[in-house]
Amino acid sequence: MTTHEITTTRMNPMIDPGMHIWGWEIPVYLFLGGLVAGFMVISGYFLFSGRFQESRHVTCFRAPLTGLILISLGMFALFLDLEHKLYAWRLYTTIKIASPMSWGAWILVLVYPAMAIMALIHLPDQKHLPIRVEFLHKLSQSLRSHEGLAKTIGAINMLGGAILGMYTGVLLSSLGARPLWSSSSLWLLFLVSGMSATAAFIHMVAPTKAERELLAKADNGFLSLELFVLALYLIGLATTSDVHADAVRLLISGTYAPVFWIFVIGVGIVIPLGIQILAVNHKVKHTSIPPLMVIAGGLILRFVIVMAGQHSHWSNAHGL
């Protein structure tokens, strides 16, 4: 048997014996980024399609506000991950076109006003606001009375959400030194997974049966698409080169396989998809369990991809 044995004297923290530079913060940030991207796309679609006059829909009001909170949490997680925190402001002193992290930082800044304006559109319908700020209500009424403007805001949010969702995948796939991330379908996987998690979230909190039904149907579509994109991702890597095939084996049959198959594929996609297909066909009742499974599956997907990706390596040159 041919031997290839490598011994190194290097033992740098977070690098050796296996890379572990990113802990829980980055998967959580990527998940929340995807979730918020989904909020922007779905809520934006509701605005764009003119449904914003159907004021009871939480999709149009609560979702953008929730999104603002979630993206703030995501950015806080990202901040926690930084090792040189006092210099975080440096992100906003330059735009580096070649760095997805740089344009991601700027996208995150643009997400706030886009979602805030979208949230404003439904302000008057909320009877439960603790305070009533008059100028906000006037602004809101003005926005609602201009249908074209409202639709434009919806379109901007859909576009912004799509870019944000794609960015969470591109962030990893641009780091070509990690073969598991070196895939052109990662952005689509994270975008669809984010959309699916958002549809599940709104399905879970929607007050009306009609809206739950609508979001469950949408989620079934996203989950089916996610399965397809996941298959493309795995097949694409498995057939690229030995290095990429080695990397994808981490998910298919390696260390991360049990978590991947049971929690990402099983609990996160296949089982909730089955239950929700029965639910939309009125065989079983809509419950919070399938959406919760979808949301958990989306989060675990980010954890698995980030952690396994760090273990994947171009070759055995450094002691893997």
Binding site: R10, M14, W22, H84, R90, S99, A177, W314, H318
Partner: protein, 179 residues
């Protein structure tokens, strides 16, 4: 125009780690961290085994992914010799450069910024050799300008068989190993 490179003769390297100690001393590298290190690469089929000892470090690539992915411009290519450096007070410690390096040559300094080999640019700028090259007891390390046809590195690369580490990663590394 200059383009610095390092050539290491694996037939002479004995893996004594003088280069490692010199680097740590010269650059005040914190305890437990390494900017350069020794790799023993054994390959073949017993009993026909071949061992190569390499002193490894940042490859100061022509296509440095660490520079491309840096969101603040902290990682940059120095105007002198194309050396890849990190400006500490611009680095936010996001670790994208660590993930992007196929050589795993970077680490996070205990003070929070990304750190790595600098080819001892502070020495080179005053006409000295990098610390690792200057202390090597077997004289297996060579440093020079690839764009100068008369440089030692060019002569060696033209006359001896050599390889780089992971050229398939596409980063165009600038550390070469004579075989």
């Amino acid at each position: 125009m200059s383009r610095y490179a390092m050539v290491i003769d694996t037939k002479k390297c004995v893996g004594c780690m003088d280069c490692v100690v010199a680097c740590k001393t010269e650059n005040n590298v914190p305890e437990g961290y390494n900017r350069d290190w020794i790799v023993q690469d054994v390959m073949g089929k017993f009993p026909d085994l071949h061992m190569e000892i390499r002193s490894e470090r940042c490859n100061h690539c022509d296509e440095p992914p660490c520079v491309h992915c840096c969101p603040t411009g902290a990682s940059h290519v120095h105007e002198r010799g194309g050396v890849v450096l990190v400006e500490h007070n611009k680095c936010i410690g996001c670790k994208a450069c660590l993930a992007s390096c196929p050589y795993d040559a970077r680490f996070i300094h205990p003070d929070g910024y990304a750190d790595k080999c600098t080819f001892c640019i502070h020495r080179v700028e005053v006409g000295l050799l990098p610390a690792c090259v200057s202390v090597c007891p077997t004289h297996c390390m060579y440093f020079g300008n690839l764009d100068d046809p008369a440089s030692d590195v060019n002569k060696l690369l033209n006359s001896r068989s050599h390889h780089a580490v992971l050229p398939e990663a596409g980063t165009k590394p600038h550390i070469f190993y004579l075989t």
